[in-house]
Amino acid sequence: MAMSQNKPAKSGGLKRFFAFKRKYLAFPYFLFLALFVIVPIAIILVYAFTGTSADGSLYFSFDALVSFFTSPTKVNVLVVSLFLGILNTVICLLIGYPIAYLLADKKVNQNYVLVMLFVMPMWINFVLRTGATRDVLNWMGIVGGKYPYLATMIGLVYNYLPFTILPLYTTMIKLDKSQIEAARDLGANPVQTFFLSILPQSVPGIVSAAEMVFMPTMSSYVISDTLSEGKLTLFGNIIYLNFSQSMWNEGSFMAFIMLLLIAISMALTRKVGKGEGRERGSGLW
């Protein structure tokens, strides 16, 4: 007799209740995420808005908030991080966009291996790559201790460029060629063709590339720490620092700011790009 799970056999409620259903498979997954994603974030939020008394118990307070906004150093770090995040995103896009366009242009390149070569550094341990970048920069005389901003920027661009090229490339190969040609045939010059046809079509790629660069840059720890020889503190470093000095309330509050920024950028980008492959490393495999 045919027996589909939509029409369970009428053999007692208990058995039916425990009968295998495909949706039950989601339960361990959800439980795991709830335990190790939601609960930890909830704890962080609790710490962000409490103070710790001498015996270790928590009480509600805005001390962490006040201490953050009254500390010029911390606010300064936030501003510098935002600035470097934007700068890195812009530089990566300025280099990555034309490269992705050329890679996807059949008249220039038909070799997929070349695309893979751009993505390949992602598979080499990034701490090792960062160290290599610093050593080579030192060799060339760009010492992090002397030029912390320059060295850090080079390191950031080096690290995030592959992450920009990949989503841009995936968008570029899907560009509507006939629309571009139509624009040309109807008399648009190359500049007009670019701004009126190519650029609007590639917005989703730009958005996902920016998403992959901006927030990770702000919260990066190893790159700025290594390349500036500890001279440049980004938001990631200062959160790390606060926690390693057991200042949990202050650190949690900054993690809360980070979460807030992520939520804002998500809300902004969700409006622009209808979220196409915006995951880290999507299309990588």
């Binding site: 050329l102 341990n125 720890y221 949690s252």
Partner: protein, 303 residues
């Protein structure tokens, strides 16, 4: 007088020349950026064949000593072993849990599914440092208040950390395959007498296998590349024994904080590079073969 034919031919020639110039300039730009991108790794690879302790220097001193140093360096070998065990274990577990989650969510009611999807997005968009810190704070919290001051940090906490990194990506790789799947297949298997369990293994699993594989590979990549989560959630265990677990990332970070990359690690970079290169070539070949097969099949069906 110039005939129309000549004008046509000349125009053709100019167009062709423009096309060639376009191609050459394009290729030049691509290769320029590519070469710049590979300078740091390239320098390390070149100097992995030098006996010099630092890169540069007047004499190159060609030798394979860095390679023999690498394989006798207990610290690096332990870290390498830890990294591989951790990557395989966390990826395997994430793949099982994530695949089950994706299947389960796909057949859940819309409300439940959207809750699961939203929770899945959190670690994807969250900053790695916030993931790492929130987990650490929770482990300390649980250790202090529930396990009476016990130190929970061990291989298991590290494993959980890495699973959280990769789990959502397994889910997101499997999901599109489930959407593409023909829902009639499962029903047909049931009608032909399979139990729900058999139907799942015989119809659903083969259909979503490519998604599972890419989820697994992505998990491995994320685990191998991670520093922040490892640095925070690790404890003693694995090949490090009673000492704090070092992964490749944490070991390299500790070294480069003090000075240049240790010479033996240059040899390691070369080996990693070659392995990655082989995988990339293999994948490209596989991709081309698959594409050809699909084309052939499409051609046959068209006939």
């Amino acid at each position: 007088m110039v005939s129309e034919m000549d004008v046509f031919q000349r125009n053709e020639r100019i167009l062709k020349r423009n096309r060639i110039i376009h191609k050459i300039l394009g290729q030049a730009a691509i290769w320029l950026v590519l070469v710049l991108m590979y300078i740091p790794i390239g320098v390390l690879i070149v100097y992995s064949f030098s006996a010099n302790d630092v890169i540069g220097g007047e004499v190159f001193n060609f030798s394979f000593i860095q390679y023999s140093r690498l394989f006798t360096d207990a610290e690096i070998m332990t870290a390498l072993g830890n990294t591989l065990i951790l990557a395989l274990a966390s990826s395997a577990l994430s793949t099982i849990l994530g695949t089950a989650g994706a299947i389960g969510a796909f057949y859940s009611k819309r409300r439940a599914r959207s809750v699961i999807e939203n929770v899945t997005q959190i670690p994807v968009v969250n900053a790695e440092i916030v993931i790492a810190l929130s987990l650490t704070v929770m482990f300390v919290f649980v250790g202090t208040y529930i396990f009476a001051g016990a130190n929970l940090f061990s291989f298991w906490t590290l494993l959980i950390g890495h699973m959280i990194l990769s789990l959502p990506f397994v889910y997101l790789s499997v999901k599109p395959k489930l959407i593409q799947m023909d829902p009639a297949l499962y029903e047909a298997a049931l009608d032909l007498g399979c139990t729900p369990n058999q139907a799942l293994w015989k119809t659903t699993m083969p259909e979503i296998a490519p998604g599972i594989l890419s989820g697994f590979m992505l998990s491995i990549t994320l685990s191998l590349d991670d520093f922040i989560v490892s640095a925070f959630t690790r404890g003693a265990g694995l090949l490090s024994g009673d000492k704090t677990i070092d992964t490749l990332s944490t070991l390299v970070q500790a070294k480069i904080k003090k000075g240049p990359i240790p010479p033996a690690m240059r040899a390691l970079t070369t080996i990693i590079f070659i392995v990655v290169l082989l995988i990339v070539i293999g994948m490209t070949v596989y991709r081309n073969v698959m594409a050809k097969r699909v084309k052939k099949r499409a051609g046959r069906e068209a006939k």
